[in-house]
Structures are given as structure tokens and as C-alpha cells.
């Protein structure tokens, strides 16, 4: 939702403290699970925690939750382009060995 004219959004302090607590808990959690052996799932688990942490920072600390829809679209667009960068880089590097080499 966009904020009202000349009436700034003031986030209740409780929300900021809850976000802070979530981020600290997330840090402990990611530290703790790093020593558990989940096989190939270790990195996806760590990334899932990091994405949740980044998400609360973007929504609450960076106020995207209370910004206009245009700003939300802009912010989301950045991450879409990041995924595009990864997708195209990795589909090249990870598939090179799949293809026969023609002399």
C-alpha cells in the first residue's frame, strides 16, 4: 500500500525488534545447521535461511511492505534479473560436459 500524502509511515518499534530477533535467530540457526550433515542439502538449507533473512530486511527494514506498488515491482525486478544471470550462467557451465565435442 502506498503511504498517505505527507503522512510518513512510522513502523511500530515492536516490529523492528521482532525483525531483529528473527535475524539473530536465523544467524544462530544457519550456524547450527552448518554442522549437521544433510548431504547435498546443506547449501540449499543455508540459502533458504539467508533468503528468509534477506526477505524480512527488504520488507521491514527497507520498508518495501509499505511502499507503492511501483517500488515493489522495481525491487522484485532486481532479484528476477539476478536469477536470470544465474540461470543463464549455470545452464552454460553445468551443461558443457553433456554435449559431444565436434572436431
Amino acid at each position: 500500500m502506498s503511504s498517505e500524502h505527507s503522512h510518513p509511515h512510522i513502523t511500530p518499534i515492536k516490529i523492528y525488534l521482532a525483525v531483529f530477533a528473527t535475524l539473530i535467530a536465523g544467524t544462530w540457526l544457519t550456524y547450527w545447521v552448518a554442522y549437521k550433515d544433510f548431504g547435498w542439502l546443506n547449501t540449499p538449507v543455508a540459502m533458504a535461511i539467508a533468503i528468509v533473512k534477506a526477505g524480512v530486511v527488504v520488507l521491514y527494514f527497507m520498508h518495501v511492505k509499505w511502499q507503492s506498488k511501483l517500488t515493489m515491482l522495481y525491487a522484485a525486478g532486481g532479484f528476477v534479473w539476478l536469477l536470470t544471470l544465474f540461470a543463464f550462467t549455470l545452464q552454460d557451465y553445468f551443461t558443457r560436459s553433456w554435449l559431444p565435442v565436434y572436431e
Binding site: 503511504s3 500524502h5 505527507s6 510518513p8 509511515h9 512510522i10 513502523t11 518499534i13 523492528y16 525488534l17 525483525v19 531483529f20 535475524l23 539473530i24 544467524t27 544457519t30 550456524y31 552448518a34 554442522y35 549437521k36 550433515d37 544433510f38 546443506n42 547449501t43 543455508a46 540459502m47 535461511i49 539467508a50 533473512k53 534477506a54 530486511v57 527488504v58 521491514y60 527494514f61 527497507m62 520498508h63 511502499q67 507503492s68 511501483l70 517500488t71 522495481y74 525491487a75 525486478g77 532486481g78 532479484f79 534479473w81 539476478l82 544471470l85 544465474f86 550462467t89 549455470l90 557451465y93 553445468f94
Partner: protein, 227 residues
């Protein structure tokens, strides 16, 4: 130069709300370029880690997990104080803006100080990529690629923090002149966005650099140092 009226409205905007919306969009456009900048480094990380998984685990275990976790906590704390500084600006409380911004800056310097301690240890352990690089008693090795990315990524992150600290001085000076009002505090809000972005980069760097090679190794058994 554009003329600015007493409320801080530049002449080419209809009202403060439009001015704020434009600044927010512009800031996010800048942050997207930053996402792509760090994204390239993360992309290189993924490719090389897939090529040399063992070297990545070895390199990761040379880092000090305890200091990394402390720094993560410090940086999250600085994001909280930055958010509180912006909140105080929205209430027009300039004294508290200056206080919370100063606190954010101090936490930023604590982070950088810890980073210096870590870099010094890597230097002492011959883990700086280049002719002097040694891992496990041997020169060279693919661990060097891990450390090249470690120093590039954490170095660029630290560089962003130093710029952030400079911006904090600007915020403090403006707060001391009582220039933030509930209607117009876009300046500190935008610098807040930048600082939170830098926090997000670290949220990904910490598990990817410090924690990746830990499973199968007991806590405390290999928290950095050369054995």
C-alpha cells in the same frame, strides 16, 4: 543547480510525496545495479565451487567461524540502529537521528576492525593469493581461487561499508542542523536503504564463505587457524 524551497522540495517536483517516490525508485534502480554487481561475484563463486568443491571446503575451514558469526550479529545490530534512525527522522526527532546514526557508524567500524583481524591472520597463514600463497604446506592449489573470491567479495563488501560510514557522517551533520522533518526525511531514508542492502550481501556471504565446509566437522574443531 535546482532551487529548493524551505520544506526541501526541489522545483521540478509537484510535491514532497512525488519527490520521495522518485528518490525511492532511483535508489532502488541503483541498488539493482549493486545486486547485479555482487551477483556477478556470486555467480563466479557458484561456478568455481562446482569445479573445485574440495578446495572450497578446505578454504572455508580456514576462516574463523566465530569472528564471522560475531560480525554477522554486529551488522544486523547496525541495521536495527539504522532503521531506528530513519524512524526517528520520520518523527522529526533530529537528536535521536544523530545518536542512532552514530551508533550505526560505530557498529560498522567494529565490523571493519574484526575484518582487519581476520585479514591479518590470513596474511600470517600465507593465504593471500599470489606467489606467496601456501595451503597445507604446498604453494598454489585451487584453494587459491577460493581465497581470491573471499578477498574480492569481503573486500568489496567492506569497501561499501566504508562508503556507508562516510554517508553516516553526512546524515549526522544534517541531523545536527535539524534538517529532517516528518514531511521530508528522504535523505536519511535512502542512505538507510543502502546500509540495509550492504547487510543483505553479508547475510549471503556468511554461510557461503564461512559455513560451507563445516558439516562432518565438530563445532570448535576447525574454527580457523592453521593446523
Amino acid at each position: 543547480m535546482s532551487s529548493v524551497d524551505a520544506t526541501g522540495l526541489a522545483h521540478h517536483f509537484e510535491d514532497l510525496e512525488q519527490q520521495r517516490e522518485s528518490a525511492t525508485l532511483g535508489m532502488w534502480a541503483f541498488l539493482i545495479t549493486e545486486i547485479m554487481f555482487f551477483g556477478g561475484l556470486f555467480g563466479a563463486y557458484v561456478v568455481y565451487r562446482t569445479m573445485y568443491p574440495e578446495a572450497w571446503d578446505n578454504g572455508s575451514r580456514e576462516l574463523d567461524v566465530f569472528l564471522g558469526a560475531v560480525n554477522t550479529t554486529v551488522l544486523i545490530g547496525s541495521s536495527l540502529t539504522m532503521a531506528l534512525a530513519v524512524r526517528c527522522a520520520a518523527k522529526g526527532n533530529n537528536k535521536q537521528v544523530a545518536g542512532f546514526t552514530l551508533l550505526t557508524m560505530v557498529l560498522g567500524f567494529v565490523f571493519l576492525g574484526v575484518k582487519v583481524i581476520e585479514y591479518k591472520a590470513k596474511y600470517d597463514h600465507h593465504l593471500i593469493p599470489g606467489p606467496g600463497f601456501m595451503y597445507g604446506g604446498h604453494a598454489g592449489g585451487h584453494e587459491q581461487i577460493f581465497f581470491a573470491l573471499y578477498f574480492t567479495m569481503t573486500g568489496m563488501h567492506a569497501f561499501h561499508m566504508i562508503i556507508g560510514a562516510g554517508l553516516m557522517i553526512w546524515v549526522i551533520l544534517r541531523a545536527l542542523k535539524n534538517s529532517y522533518t516528518p514531511q521530508n526525511h528522504t535523505h536519511v531514508e535512502m542512505i538507510g536503504l543502502y546500509w540495509h542492502f550492504v547487510d543483505i550481501v553479508w547475510i549471503f556471504l556468511f554461510p557461503l564463505l564461512y559455513l560451507l565446509g563445516r558439516h562432518g566437522h565438530a563445532i570448535g574443531a576447525a574454527t580457523g587457524g592453521h593446523h
